[in-house]
Amino acid sequence: MKSKITIALAGNPNSGKTTVFNNLTGLRQHVGNYPGVTVEKKTGVVEYKGYRINVVDLPGIYSLTAYSMEEIVARNFIIDEKPDVVVDIIDSSNLERNLYLATQLIELDSPLVLVLNMADIAKKSGKKIDIDLLSELLGAPIVETVGCKGLGSKEVLGSVIEEVNSKKKKKIEIKYGEEVENEINRITAIFKREKIPPLKFDTKWIIVKLLEQDNEIINVLKETLGSKYQKIEKEITGSINHITSILRNTPEVIIAEARYGFINGALMESYREVDTGRLDISEKVDRILTNRVLGIPIFALIMWLMFQFVFTVGKYPMNWIDIGFGKLSEIITSNMAEGLISSLLVDGIIGGVGGVIVFTPNIMLLFLSIAVLEDSGYMARAAFVMDRIMHKIGLHGKSFIPLVIGFGCTVPAYMGSRILENKGDRLLTMHINTFMSCGARLPVYILFAGAFFPAIAGNVIFSIYIIGVIMAVVMAKVLRSTRFKGMSDPFVMELPPYRVPTLKGVLIHTWERTWMYVKKAGTVILAISILMWIAFTFPMIGNNYSTDYHGQIDEIEQSYQSGTITQQYYKEQIAAVEGKMAGERLAYSAAGRIGRFAEPVFKLLGFDWKMTVAAISGIAAKEVIVSTMGTLYSIEEADGQSEPLKTVLNKNYHPLVGYNFMLFTLLYFPCLTAMVVFRKEAGTKEMFFQMGYTLFLAWMVSFLVFQIGRLFI
């Protein structure tokens, strides 16, 4: 008896697989109500009845062919890692399509447990399933679950343990029809004659895959068999031609039809659907939300409302945190002697990290909104509505999913592009995903929109997001007609039923993303802020000021003491001289020198050397722009006279420059982390192309906006 069990969760996208995984393991995976959430496989451990069960959540797949990365990942795991049991999560309300994967798992002869998830929805819509009979027909135990309510998890684990301890059952054979079966038998005989060594796959399964022209299996056989493969290849080609000539269809189609025939046969006996004769709520709502005319305006309205909500509601807690950091700075300034450490704490750490932490409520609200839209099923509708437009601009309908993920973070969005089977579609989607404004850019927008357009900040931020989408559309069109020529494959978007998002699900999702943001601010951004402060402080100017500022201060003090100037005028004069000194100190520093060196390139966009340094620092992560600005102006506004960053920005720059800076931030590549992932997903050449073209585009657009805009100011 085994005490350690490994189970693999397989299932169609949106079958509730990740929810079942979370219920089984208690892990908090991101659960989205649209296909393609699980790109990588994830693992959790659960103890049950003395067993230690390792649960692996495989990517959502429709079949075990080798058309997409997910399918290959899932299939290779089942074949190579040989889990003790494969648990196939099936959407009960969509049995026929979901069972297609089950038939392929049956073909693989993996120990199998079938989980009919969302059993409540199926029952409510009048579907009746004879579980015992279906289980007998498919040769695998079946358990009913309601993932969103956590029902049935123990039964699943119990079935898994039973399956592990049960004797090997007779394999259920799926028959592919006489012609195909004859060819399988013929090739099997050739395998024996050629003394093909035992492979890790079942011979019949390999032959079926060869008849289906499965590239992955072909490559494995080429490598394993060497010259012997040529003989097999010749025979397979002969079989394919023979089947095609007789049945007027490729073996791939014939085999798929046979699988559906097997499913239909099983369902005919065990499944009954009661016609309710009325539209359910999902269908009624869909008539409006996915309407050809109303669909897109409704989508735009929902997005607009989301940004209004994020900015309007978020500004209150944002101000409270800001006041808190201001008080903390005051306490440090009044209790510590003026010097490097005090400056590091106040200007570097509080000015930098504090500037980023301030936006946590907005980030929380943004992810809360996205979580509600995803979990309710609306995002899948948005994908459906956008599908027509996507095709018009040369994008695959499925591209919408990674593009939406890009509004959260570009890194998983790049990885999410794997759901696109065609390489051209995948690269194109990745190249334009950078224009989907990620959460890290939001603090920059809130800072600048709040500084320059306080009354209409929500609308300004919305306009930046819209410009991002427009740029994505334009670049998709350009890249499709230049670098990635050709048409994308057809695609059918599934529409999951609407579900009221569970409070727990939404809160977990929001918390995970917010915690990521805070963690990033407390680690990498803290470290970068300290390094930026050092770069803004050293080398120290010493006595290398261009003017004798100390002499000027002495003169002002003498005038004040002799009573020739008022206290108010004295304070203003001292602040003005100290401001000039701080400006020279910053310009003398390492960061100042870099900024001034690069300034001529950015001056044409309206940026001074400080904005230049902030934009360069944003390459590390976009939040760093805010922390750099915070540190920079905190150092400049020394001696406890610091004003809120927004006020300082408003005083120093024209709104046109502020808006232009937001545009520049939007358009150049997201961050170094994203570029590392881009390289992993698409290769070094494509990564450099991404960096180069987005930088060029950002510069060109900002140049045009500033040069044209200045004509009107």
Binding site: V45, M516, I530, L531
Partner: protein, 50 residues
């Protein structure tokens, strides 16, 4: 002088964190570089992000 030494130490630590982060990004396989659950990865669930 003490302040300068402290700043050098803090700066070196900060640089270390940034380098560690960058190395982790380049070395990590698959989704690990940005996996939101990477902090939960331990020996028991080591292949979670593989």
């Amino acid at each position: 002088m003490l302040e300068i030494i402290l700043v050098i130490l803090i700066g070196a630590a900060a640089l270390g964190i940034v380098i560690w982060f960058a190395v982790r990004q380049f070395k990590a396989r698959g989704a690990c570089s940005a996996c939101p659950f990477s902090d939960e990865c331990d020996k028991e669930i080591e292949d979670k992000c593989r």
